[in-house]
């Protein structure tokens, strides 16, 4: 009997330890900032003294391959300023400028918590304004060769319409996935034409509409941001050759109203994720 009690006691101790371990792991895990939506932070007219540095209090949990976009301006423009990220290994990865502007996409190569940091390398104080943004556990690459928007994201259009900069049309141009992920839809519908839906590891769902012919990928196929999905076209309910790209964070595949569908309320503005694309 005594032996049995000891056994039960040991069992309870092990169970308690396990529960405490799991709880503490849960607490520490939830303290880590892993984001499902892009994080953007702005800095408005921040003064940075001669030779000093400032680090953001915002923690970004990033993965190799993620991209952080730095978009800053400062004055006096001739001074040397370093913008970048404090990495998990304690290194300050920088992009140093002496032009008054820093527009740079920094590709992450370490997993873990990163913080934005900037350093004034000069002997005079400077004033900095701008933003940094990230796709977090998700990275985007601009659609190949497509650098001009014909229509942006708005309350009446929940994606980007992308065309070729010179001719205005991009019939037959290849479309590459802007992210890593898995193809969830590869199909034809009379509304969206030939189209592909990719769900990324970070929870983003990207859709590529109006391709010119049968997509190059099939359902459940893994893709990277180098994978070609198909070609730009004018299929379905479309008014001209273009790529319609939209991004939602709710895993929706099909257009329509309500929370399970792709619409204005379930999508994000993709434009900040692609600083390479513009209307000009």
């Amino acid at each position: 009997m005594h032996f049995k009690s000891k056994k039960i006691l040991r069992y309870i101790t092990i169970m308690l330890s396990f529960v405490i371990f799991v709880s503490s792991y849960g607490i520490s895990a939830s303290a880590v900032v892993t984001c499902d939506i892009p994080i953007s932070r702005s800095i408005s007219s921040q003064t940075l003294g001669a030779g000093s540095s400032s680090t953001s209090s915002t923690e970004l949990y990033l993965y190799p391959g993620d991209i952080v976009y730095l978009n800053f301006s400062y004055s006096p423009a001739s001074l040397s300023v370093s913008f970048g990220l404090l990495t998990p290994s304690g290194t300050f990865r920088t992009k140093t400028q002496s032009t008054g502007i820093c527009k740079y996409a920094m590709t992450i190569n370490e997993e873990g918590i990163h913080k934005f940091r900037m350093k004034n390398n000069s002997s005079s104080s400077i004033t900095v304004s701008g933003t940094y943004s990230t796709g977090c556990s998700y990275s985007f690459r601009s659609p190949y060769l497509a650098k001009k928007l014909s229509r942006g994201y708005s309350s009446t259009h929940y994606g980007l319409d992308i065309i070729e900069p010179t001719t205005g049309a991009i019939a037959g141009y290849p479309i590459y996935s802007v992210s890593n992920g898995t193809v969830k839809v590869s199909t034809y519908s009379s509304s969206a034409g030939y189209y592909v839906v990719v769900v990324g590891n970070g929870g983003y769902t990207t859709r590529y509409l109006h391709m010119n012919t049968t997509p190059s990928v099939t359902v459940n196929q893994s893709v990277t941001y180098n994978s070609m999905l198909g070609y730009v076209g004018n299929s379905g309910d479309s008014g001209g050759y273009h790529l319609h790209l939209d991004i939602n964070t709710v895993g929706a595949y099909y257009g329509g109203s309500g929370s399970g569908y792709v619409n204005y309320d379930t999508t994000i503005d993709p434009e900040p994720l692609f600083p390479q694309i513009s209307f000009t």
Binding site: T58, K184, S186, S189, N220, G258
Partner: protein, 297 residues
């Protein structure tokens, strides 16, 4: 009207084909008098189940007189703002007669036949905005497998990932595939019609059809006030312009005799602020971190 002409041409073609086959003593012809007057006749050739294809030939005796006299309601303004009505599938619920299962043709199926032939076939249909009222008048799985003589066995192999998939957004059941390959247009239409559409026999009337056709057509085709009334709440989902919303509300009110208000549940006047970026808080630090300068790629 265009659809009616097309049906008439198809009927004539079918009749000519039947007469020709009969003259040649072809044993596969089906006597016209054996076919139902009230439905399109689908002739399933007697083959093993796995080799079965859908062989639909429109009966010359189809009663589509109501269709022939159908008319568009010219008083209705364009339903949507130009910006919301092209370049995406925002209004697919308004235009698509059936649900996502039937109205999306997976690439795995499309690849079973020559790409150019498939493309030409798809281009042969007019815009979905022209409000087709039958599943053989626009691109869907049924019209595809019928046109390209896809066997059920071929479809099952191609769609293996989709059949009873855990992903409910793309899943198709074996029973649903059976219905599609039954060739029974009425059964297919009733099984796959969108929640927004009204089904009468083998015809399906999507919201766009209801929007663009006259109340005289509603009456003639047997679209009841009750059927309209129960969908009014769903119609309110669409992103109509104010003018269109009012015009559609008035039209449906006149027909149902009730005060139908398509109150815009789905409005593009959203409070979502897509430009909001939080201000960052910075802490001055003078830690001597080692620095690595990024080299431009």
């Amino acid at each position: 009207m265009r659809a009616s002409i097309k049906k008439f041409v198809i009927s004539i073609t079918a009749l000519t084909t039947l007469l020709t086959l009969a003259a040649c003593g072809n044993s596969q012809n089906t006597p016209v008098e054996e076919q139902s007057k009230s439905s399109n006749s689908e002739v399933i050739t007697e083959m093993p189940e796995e080799q079965k294809t859908i062989n639909t030939e429109k009966s010359p005796s189809i009663d589509n007189s109501a269709e022939i006299s159908s008319s568009l309601d010219n008083q209705m303004p364009p339903p949507f703002d130009e910006n919301t009505d092209s370049g995406s599938d925002a209004n697919s619920g308004f235009y698509q007669p059936c649900n996502r299962i039937l109205d999306n043709v997976p690439t795995e199926l499309l690849r079973l036949r020559d790409e150019n032939e498939v493309n030409d076939w798809i281009k042969s249909f007019s815009s979905i905005a022209n409000a087709p009222d039958s599943i053989d008048e626009y691109v869907n799985i049924y019209s595809f497998v019928t046109r390209f003589d896809i066997t059920k066995k071929e479809a099952e192999t191609a769609l293996a990932y989709y059949i009873d998939s855990d992903d409910k957004m793309i899943s198709i059941s074996s029973e649903q595939l059976d219905i599609i390959f039954s060739g029974d247009i009425k059964a297919i239409t009733q099984s796959f019609a969108s929640e927004y559409s009204i089904v009468i026999g083998e015809f399906v009337y999507c919201p766009n059809w209801i929007y663009t056709h006259s109340v005289d057509d509603y009456k003639r085709l047997g679209i009841t006030a009750e059927a309209i009334e129960v969908r009014a709440d769903l119609y309110a989902d669409f992103y109509f312009t104010d003018e269109a919303r009012t015009a559609f509300s008035d039209k449906l009110s006149d027909y149902t005799g009730k005060d139908v208000k398509l109150n815009n549940k789905a409005s593009f006047v959203s409070t979502k602020d897509t430009t909001a970026i939080k201000e960052d808080s910075l802490i001055v630090d003078d830690e001597p971190y080692s620095e690595i300068e990024d080299i431009e790629e």
